[in-house]
Amino acid sequence: MDESREAFIREITAAQSSLWAYVFSLLPDHVAAQDILQQTNLTLWRKAGDFQQGTSFVAWASRAAYFHVLTYRRGMRRDRLVFNDEVFAYLAERQAERLTERVPGERVTALRGCLEKLPPTSRRLLESRYAPGASVKDLAQADGRSVAALSQVLYRIRDTLLECIESTLAAGGAA
């Protein structure tokens, strides 16, 4: 087995959650973002030879993702764009910086630790909310709550998680 290929495969595997976060933050539509991530992955495989060992894989890969998102945006009607070009460019640059500040997977590890600290019902609620195909509307209906009430509950849970993740990352340790 070629060692550099092996290393490349490890890098692309480890970078998946960062790449997904990068694409999703620029294109907050999960179906479109999945398409972009898939196209980005293919580009990365094809261009594997261009990656310089020892440099930041996430920075390199997010650049490829940036161009895919840009191409996608160009094909969209202006009125469907979530951000204007200026905000988009700023978010793209800042998000790439944020994601390369951390070792790939560090944020996910912190999230997992913080999920453990949530009350079981909150964790289950998140699990149901983010299960494939789930929607807040359906979940609210199933729970007999209003969409607004459930949305507020979910927002609070996410806020708690965010606080926990930030403090975990700031402390540089596991949650």
Partner: protein
């Protein structure tokens, strides 16, 4: 002009909408306006949306990866459609597929093949899925049900009517509320957080995070606000609501939320009929939830034990032919197919004593037990009665385990782990149910090669653990498998817990599993004792004759 706090509140509101449903054109414009030239707002947006993305990745990973990973991970049909790549690129992709299995993405990559390739496709597709279920029947002693279906403990319940003619049943709704239903009673399970009581008595215990649990009745809708309450519906519709702890709100069915009244702890009201508009105060006379549980006499169910091995053999070497103890087995222990033995080793079991620190009221674990030395790989034993995934049924298993894992392995070596595995003697390498603890100490379920579900929970290494597994088998529909690891500091639950260390998703199997394997991968020493397989939580989890302080 809006203040910074107005802007932040508006941004939060837009981000909530963005996460939970999407933004309209106007809302997108407004979001852009709020982010434009405001680095602080952009930072807030990126933090929120990164979390949202990570949660989608974490909980929706299967779907996400199926669609986002390169074609090496696609199902065969899709792969054939993948025509556009060069020969070199295709080679790289195949290489990557093989490599991924070795670098830790096996769970994700393989999750795109949730069905064994040998398994005929199409079966079960019409059946019930785990998502259709909204509650679990935790306890049902001496219960007479009017329905044709036989209800058993541990059974998952979908929305529908439960008519209890006699007895006492305990249910836990997936939203978190636990209820005691006393027969005769007529209850419609409506959702994870709602039930309709047409007749009988229902006592509800809803922890704070299950607040909002609703019981509808002919005379009143009662909404729990993080508390304990009872509702009694008499023939003719007269209804009493007793608040035993905390607070509940109650109102006439269909009344607007603002018309609801609050009822505090120690208070009760009675509607003298279904159509009576206003209730009157009555004394509280309902027993507490804990009192009902005590009355329920939640005791052991040895009669529902299918197999038990307590390794009650003389300490020392035990030839396999003599390892025939316990109940519910079709033969002695044997070396598992594929397990390698050191030269001269006939596979004898090593029986040790006093190697576990048993923190629970378990009978065994203090005397003889199975010791797996560093060279031990796997032993198996055939069950007299298999665990059948092709029929409706609920199974539980438990085992005491302590594992002193080896030092970190060299790269490329198999992952050290200890396992209890159920396999089929007629299709050994087919579907299986594996309860696995890898060296990184996050419990896992492995249903067939590569279909792995990993717990968020990291358990403490090196201490004695009590493992409990649950299998909900369905003839038609999704099978559900659960795994819980209790550490030395944890009390064993009297009834199955609301949360498990890990549970499966999307498993459909027809396997008939008649082999139990105790396996240790790569080094370290491990001790097992008290292997139990049964048809009730109470058959495999030890408890006092009658639990006095159930949760």
């Amino acid at each position: 002009m809006s203040t910074p706090s107005d802007r932040k509140a508006e941004l939060q509101d837009l981000l909530r909408r963005l996460s939970d449903g999407g933004l309209s054109e106007e809302e997108s414009e407004r979001l852009t306006g709020l982010l434009h030239g405001d680095p602080e707002a952009c930072e807030y947006y990126l933090k929120q949306v990164t979390l949202d993305a990570t949660l989608r990745h974490e909980f929706g990973g299967r779907q996400l990866l199926r669609e986002a990973l390169p074609p090496f991970a696609w199902p065969a049909g899709d792969l054939e459609a993948f025509q556009g790549l060069t020969v070199r690129a295709k080679g790289l992709i195949r290489l990557a597929a093989a490599m991924l299995l070795g670098v830790g993405l096996s769970m994700l990559a393989s999750s795109v093949w949730p069905r064994s390739r040998n398994e005929p496709s199409g079966r079960h597709e019409e059946g019930r899925t785990a998502a259709d279920c909204v509650a679990t029947l935790l306890f049902a002693d001496n219960c007479e049900w009017r329905s044709k279906d036989r209800l058993v403990e541990g059974q998952r319940l979908s929305a529908g009517r439960l008519q209890l003619e006699e007895g006492l049943a305990i249910l836990r709704f997936d939203g978190g509320a636990a209820v005691v239903l006393e027969g005769p009673a007529d209850l419609e399970v409506e959702s994870r957080g709602c039930a309709r009581l047409a007749a009988g008595r229902l006592t509800v215990r809803a922890p704070k995070d299950a607040a909002g649990f609703t019981v509808r009745s002919p005379a009143s809708d009662v909404v729990d606000l993080g508390t304990e309450f009872a509702i009694v519906v008499e023939r003719g519709g007269a209804t009493e609501v007793h608040c035993l702890e905390g607070e509940v709100s109650y109102s006439k069915p269909g009344a607007p939320m603002e018309a609801a009244e609050l009822l505090g702890a120690g208070n009760a009201v009675r509607y003298d009929g279904a159509k009576v508009a206003a209730p009157r105060a009555v004394p509280v006379k309902s027993p507490r939830f804990s009192e009902l549980l005590s009355q329920a006499k939640i005791g052991p169910r040895e009669d529902l034990l299918l197999a038990h091995e307590g390794f009650d053999y003389p300490v020392g070497n035990l030839p396999l032919a003599e390892a025939t103890g316990g109940i519910g087995w079709a033969g002695p222990w044997a070396v598992s197919p594929g397990a390698k033995l050191p030269p001269g080793d006939l596979g004898d079991l090593t029986i040790a004593s006093g190697k576990l620190h048993v923190a629970w009221p378990v009978e065994g674990g203090r005397g003889p037990m199975l010791e797996a030395s560093p060279s031990y790989q796997s032993r198996r034993r055939q069950l007299a009665q298999p665990v059948r995934l092709d029929e409706d049924g609920v199974y539980y298993l438990s085992v005491l385990v302590r594992w002193a894992p080896p030092p970190p392995a060299l790269t490329g070596q198999p992952m050290p782990s200890v396992r209890l595995v159920l396999r089929s003697s007629t299709n050994f390498n087919g579907d299986h149910v594996m309860f696995n603890l890898p060296v990184f100490q996050q419990p896992q379920l492995d249903i067939r090669t590569g279909a792995i579900f990993t717990s968020f929970q990291t358990v403490k290494s090196g201490e004695t653990q009590f493992w409990v597994g649950k299998i909900v088998a369905r003839r038609q529909g999704e099978d559900e498998i659960f795994f819980r690891v209790y550490g030395e500091g944890e009390t064993l639950d009297t009834m199955e817990p609301a949360t498990w260390s890990v549970k499966s998703r999307g498993v459909y199997s027809d396997a008939s599993l008649d082999l139990v394997l105790l396996t240790k991968m790569d080094g370290g020493t491990c001790w097992w004792d008290e292997v139990r397989i049964g048809k009730s939580w109470r058959a495999v989890v030890p408890m006092a004759a009658y639990a006095r302080n159930p949760k």
